[in-house]
Amino acid sequence: MNLVRNHVLISIDAGTIMAGARAVEKALVEEINKQGLSGEIAVLETGSIGATGQGVVIVVYPEGIYYANVTPADAAELVEEHLLKGRPVKRLIMTEMPKQHVIKKEKTGLLREQPRIVLRNSGVINPENIDEYIAEGGYEALEKAFTDLKPAGVTKEVKDSGLMGRGGAAFTTAMKWEFAARAPGDVKYIICNADEGEPGTFKDRLILEGDPHKLIEGMILAGYAVGATKGFVYIRGEYALSIERLEKAITQARLYGLLGDDILESGFSFDIAVMKGAGAYVCGEETALIESLEGKRGHPRNKPPYPVTEGLWAKPTVVNNVETLANVPEIVRNGAAWYRGYGTDKCPGTKVYTIIGNVATPGLIEAEMGTTLRDIIYEYAGGIKDGKKFKGALVGGAAGAFMGPEMLDAKMDFVNLKEYAAVLGSGAILVMDEDADIVGMLQSVLHFFRHESCGHCVPCRLGTNQLAEIIDRIAEGKGKTEDVDKLVSISEVMRDTSFCPLGQSPVLPITSSLRFFRDEVYSRVQ
């Protein structure tokens, strides 16, 4: 191994590729070779470092200097000045730093620095190199599971940790596992739901792009606990880079004997296949996803039976979200007690958020459960863009709830938000400044549901159309007060009678928008 004096990490994710990261990488490598530094300087690819909208981002270690908006034309100067002469190039240094590892306690007023559990390796390691994951303690949990814990011990650890599903429904993860483990049958499946389609959410994409082995390890552990030998990752078809990275990681894991027959000579066999979706929001619903995996239209199934007893090809099946599974290796490795040290009593651990819209630094963050909306917006995301005032936020995606300034000090976790008739959902936080138009936002939400209704049940198929027509009328200034009442009553009927969560969802954005922005909505009708 060469003695490398500088590591140049270049963030390669869908966003930076868009900004030309591959060309910058090529230019840097060429320039380094030209200066004869190739033995001393290593250029490594890594996942997202959490900043978006700042072009191509690179980090130079050991100094830890972040550069933003780098172009191929800057390569010569960066190599000559920083890497050869040791003088950082001031004009390119990132001014809006991503809140990567920890936020100092003095800043947030919270009790301690903010940790990263799920995103610990993202933007730090090269996701295409299994050795780097292993060097960070990767696959240690697997050894611990096979030698000390055994299947029941893995489930117990996850149960004691209090981990809840991070896809939006917040069901206790260990309970799903126990149901499936107890269900009769020799063939069982683990499915990872990576059909991330909730508007405003891209956390699973960045976990997959930044640390795919964490998901693989989590799936193996789930399979071991449940007694499943086969896993599927259902990824949405638009996520080309996630699919590519995950497939590479699976191949590497097989080479290392971490997937396949008799993993680490434990006698346990498990393998993973990647399945690509084709654009259907409803396939994020677990039974619709299973139908799609079987090669059918993605219509949701009748429940019960639940997938844990009768899922994929009628076999017991656990369906977990990417972020949920990515928590599992850390829980098993460090223990439930360690995990419970983060978050709140009822909702331990952290949550990965995508914070977007009118904020200074949109991006991906990980914060403890129970962090307030105010801290998330003002500490993590740098506050409202251009010094404007906060008007509200849409939390949890299209199926989420609008929140007004009154909610800024609400503690964000699954249980607490329920008390405010709001949800954490997928963790998407869309921030709106004073200029945002609530009717326009609601219109966009309701158009989304109209487009994504799968047509299987009447209340949703007709209801989503009605809601979209009514909001269009209101947006055009032709609405009447009765129209607002109709929005509420139709969505309530849909909540009570729709077949799956999709049709039950529009009521929340509608009623919450009226709760916080009643006057504004009514000012638009006659």
Partner: protein, 152 residues
């Protein structure tokens, strides 16, 4: 690649149907699933034509009518809406002289809308074929489309 060769890449299991249709559509010069594509897929998987058609028509990423050589998919979800996707849509409609779902006269572009692409950090965003573009403005969209025109 001909249809036979594409089909042979996959085991004839129903669970491969989405993969097969993705590949058939991507290799069709008019970027859609033609009657012949659906027939070939149905024969290979040993299911009725109507079955494959029903699956193909369910998923947004598949088209059952011919499209242009390039597919523009503009995101219209709330995050992109907030950041100005609507005015971009009006702009695209005007400059390409097509409606949503339409193809330009020269067969170069088809304009489509899509739900969230997960590129919300750089909203408003769109995909041109498999490539993602963000922080869009009318000027930027013009530059992207001009570049594509010149590449062909």
């Amino acid at each position: 690649m001909d249809r036979e060769a594409i089909l042979k890449k996959f085991e004839p299991n129903l669970s491969n149907i989405l993969y097969i249709m993705h590949d058939l559509q991507d290799t069709n010069p008019e970027r859609y699933l033609a009657k012949e594509d659906i027939e070939a897929c149905a024969d290979y998987l040993n299911v009725p034509y109507s079955y494959v058609h029903s699956v193909a028509s369910f998923y947004t990423m598949f088209s059952l009518k011919p499209r242009g050589r390039n597919i523009i998919r503009l995101c219209e979800s709330p995050p992109c809406h907030l950041m100005g996707a609507h005015s971009l849509l009006d702009y695209l409609k005007g400059s390409l002289k097509v409606d949503v779902g339409g193809t330009t006269k020269d067969g170069m572009f088809t304009l489509e809308l899509t739900s969230c692409l997960g590129a919300c950090g750089v909203a408003p965003a769109m995909m041109l074929n498999e490539e993602m573009f963000g922080n869009l403005t009318p000027e930027k969209v013009d530059a992207i489309l001009d570049k594509r025109r010149k590449e062909i």
